[in-house]
């Protein structure tokens, strides 16, 4: 029974992590850029939850919708204002830009809202749990699993069957070729950022649902998770990121059980050690794509 509860927990964590990783890798696949500002999109979603939720009397679903929309808009704006202009220059410039955008958003929240944690209004469903044949499962976990799977299926359909999805996949595979075939680069990249923002918005609901509060630096946690997951899974493929997220969630849960209490504090350090080892053993991650292309220029 306990084992089953643990398993549900691990799967819930894994599916959330898969979602987090997917949001990061959508951009990485195309621009070869690790978006350090990704965590701040999640933070932004959280602040929308806090601001709209505590100031307007709206059903929670609408508040959540606003959070997702807000993250999408911010993600698009970061691309429009910052990344688009640096994109052509160099990868180093792009990476530092994303770090600067991350700092900007984080400290903007610090400046405009508050350094202190803000309580977020959540619906009751986040704190309830159901008991089934003697197994107690928090509703939050079921919700996380089902929404994550729904999102993943939806995105898979999008990637497989829509023109935008095909263009995105083609761009992730070989951006230069895609452009030559007449796919507008700005449109593809912008929609990748919007999609990434949407995922970040959905993630923010569940990430903040766990603690029911939001702080300016809340984005670092998911960002690191996304890093680890994408590295484990393979930074080139979207499927790899999802797999990496699941694997990471599982490893993280198991390490929590297996590691002795004194070493538990170092859990993050261990996770990153695993990342470094995986990168050395298999730089392209668990899922290999047909060819791996280094970014030119």
């Amino acid at each position: 029974m306990v084992a089953f509860e643990f398993l549900i927990n691990a799967i819930s964590l894994g599916s959330l992590y898969a979602l987090i990783a997917l949001g990061l890798v959508i951009i990485f696949g195309i621009l070869k850029m690790v978006n350090f500002a990704y965590g701040e999109l999640i933070m932004f979603g959280g602040y929308v939850l806090y601001l709209v939720g505590s100031n307007f009397r709206l059903p929670w679903l609408f508040v959540a919708l606003f959070a997702v929309l807000g993250a999408m808009i911010v993600s698009y704006l970061t691309e429009l204002v910052a990344f688009r202009r640096v994109r052509e220059k160099s990868l180093t410039a792009l990476l530092i830009t994303s770090f600067a955008v991350s700092t900007l958003l984080q400290n903007g929240a610090l400046l405009i809202i508050s350094p202190r944690a803000k309580a977020v209004v959540l619906p009751n469903i986040f704190s309830q749990s159901i008991t089934w044949f003697g197994i107690t499962i928090p509703m939050r976990n079921i919700l996380t699993i089902s929404i994550s799977i729904l999102m993943l299926v939806g995105l898979t359909l999008l990637f497989r069957y829509t023109i935008l999805g095909i263009a995105l996949r083609a761009a992730a595979d070989n951006f230069r070729m895609t452009r030559m075939l007449g796919v507008p680069a700005n449109l593809v990249i912008s929609s990748a950022f919007v999609l990434s923002g949407m995922i970040a918005g959905v993630v923010s609901l569940f990430w903040i649902g766990r603690t029911a509060s939001v702080t300016p630096n809340i984005g670092l946690g998911p960002l690191l998770i996304a890093f680890v997951a994408t590295v484990i899974g393979g930074m080139q493929s979207l499927m790899g990121a999802v797999l990496g997220g699941f694997v990471y969630g599982m490893i993280f849960s198991f390490i929590g059980v297996l590691l002795p209490q004194t070493l538990l504090d170092y859990r993050e350090a261990f996770m990153f050690l695993i990342v470094i080892l995986i990168l050395l053993w298999r730089p392209e991650g668990l899922v290999r794509t047909r060819y791996v292309q280094e970014r030119v220029g």
Binding site: K32, M33, A100, N107, V231, P283
Partner: protein, 353 residues
């Protein structure tokens, strides 16, 4: 002819003089006339300059993003502090300290050097495999390294006093110490850049395939320069610790990383001049905004406390700078005295090579 040869020989070294002379002048003026606040700002600037130059040694020459250097700075700070603190102080400040560390009590300079050596040693042990990676993979792993170092600093109660403040480090670093050390590191970084190793590293930055075809072992040259730059960062950390005297592991994390990265990138990571000028400019900008922030908070001009304005401003400047001048203000050029004859000499030498 003789004169121009001398000029040709001196020209490359003129960069050092062009950068060091204003530093000495600034230090003298500040020492004689300035208030203690300005002395503090300038001292911290010189220490930051050491870290930035340390980063430049690796990042500028190899073209690979370096996130972990502030972590090495932290290692240098903690190690040197533990070496120089008196046993009595250590008993109070780090209650759970290991017995063999408790009785360790060294003078200032040996402590600083041990701090730098330990940082370099850490780089020596862990970084070799990382040097095989480039681009995004390298960025992620060195970021991971920063997180790992921070996690260890926060949780290793028996050495760092955990997330709590380490206090009671004696103040040794003065304005002149920091200035002279910064000049020393400047010379070191410049000589490294111009050395054969530095040249090979820069070649690998420009074109990795051509460089390895020319027989350069890229992993190896990156490895050596990473160790050197980690050592420099550790050295700077030691000086910093003996000036600030009480700090937490959070001092060596994202904010400081952003700070030194902004300095390097605004100035231009490709050259020594860029690193020095960037440090100076960012320090001026940051202190200016901080003064405004403090003024607002002290006089309560706004109904709430202003936090984070400095970082918002710096981040904006950094983004604008990356859009307009992605190579930094200096672009890769160095401040250099170029007499006409010397340039011809240089060209002749270059063509002979």
């Amino acid at each position: 002819m003789k004169r121009s040869r001398l000029a040709g020989w001196l020209s490359p070294y003129s960069t050092i003089f062009f950068l060091a002379l204003p530093m000495v002048a600034l230090t003298t003026i500040v020492d004689l006339f300035a208030t203690s606040l300005v002395i503090r700002i300038v001292t911290v600037m010189f220490v930051s300059m050491i870290i930035v130059l340390g980063m430049q040694v690796f990042m500028g020459n190899s073209g690979i993003l370096a996130w972990a250097h502030v972590g090495f700075m932290g290692v240098g700070a903690y190690v040197s502090a533990l070496c120089s603190m008196t046993p009595q102080m250590k008993e109070i400040a780090v209650p759970q300290v290991y017995p063999f560390l408790l009785n360790l009590h060294l003078p200032f300079w040996p402590s600083i050097l041990i701090g730098a050596l330990v940082a370099a040693l850490l780089a020596l042990i862990i970084s070799y495999p990382l040097m095989r990676l480039s681009d995004a993979a390298a960025a992620i792993t060195s970021f991971a390294l920063l997180i790992i170092i921070h996690t260890v600093l926060v949780h290793w109660d028996r050495v760092t006093n955990g997330p709590r403040t380490l206090f009671g480090v004696e103040e040794y670093t003065t304005l002149w110490t920091s200035a002279l050390c910064a000049i020393l590191v400047l010379v070191l970084a410049y000589l490294f850049k111009e050395s054969s190793l530095g040249l090979r590293l820069r070649a690998s930055r420009e074109d990795a395939y051509a460089a390895s075809a020319a027989g350069i072992n890229i992993t190896q040259v990156r490895y050596f320069s990473f160790i050197l730059s980690a050592g420099i960062a550790g050295f700077g950390g030691g000086l910093w610790a003996h000036y600030i005297t009480s700090f937490t592991p959070d001092a060596f994390y994202m904010i400081e990383t952003f700070n030194v990265l902004a300095m390097l990138v605004v100035g231009g990571p490709l050259g020594i001049s860029g690193a020095v000028i960037g440090t100076a400019l960012v320090t001026i900008a940051r202190e200016g905004v901080r003064a405004v922030e403090n003024m607002i908070n002290l006089n309560q001009l706004l109904p709430f406390e202003v936090v984070g304005l400095t970082e918002v401003f710096l981040a904006t400047v950094l983004i604008v700078c990356l859009i307009l001048r992605p190579q930094g203000i200096m672009g890769g050029r160095e401040l250099r005295w170029k007499p006409k004859n010397a340039m011809q000499m240089g060209n002749q030498q270059a063509s002979q090579k």
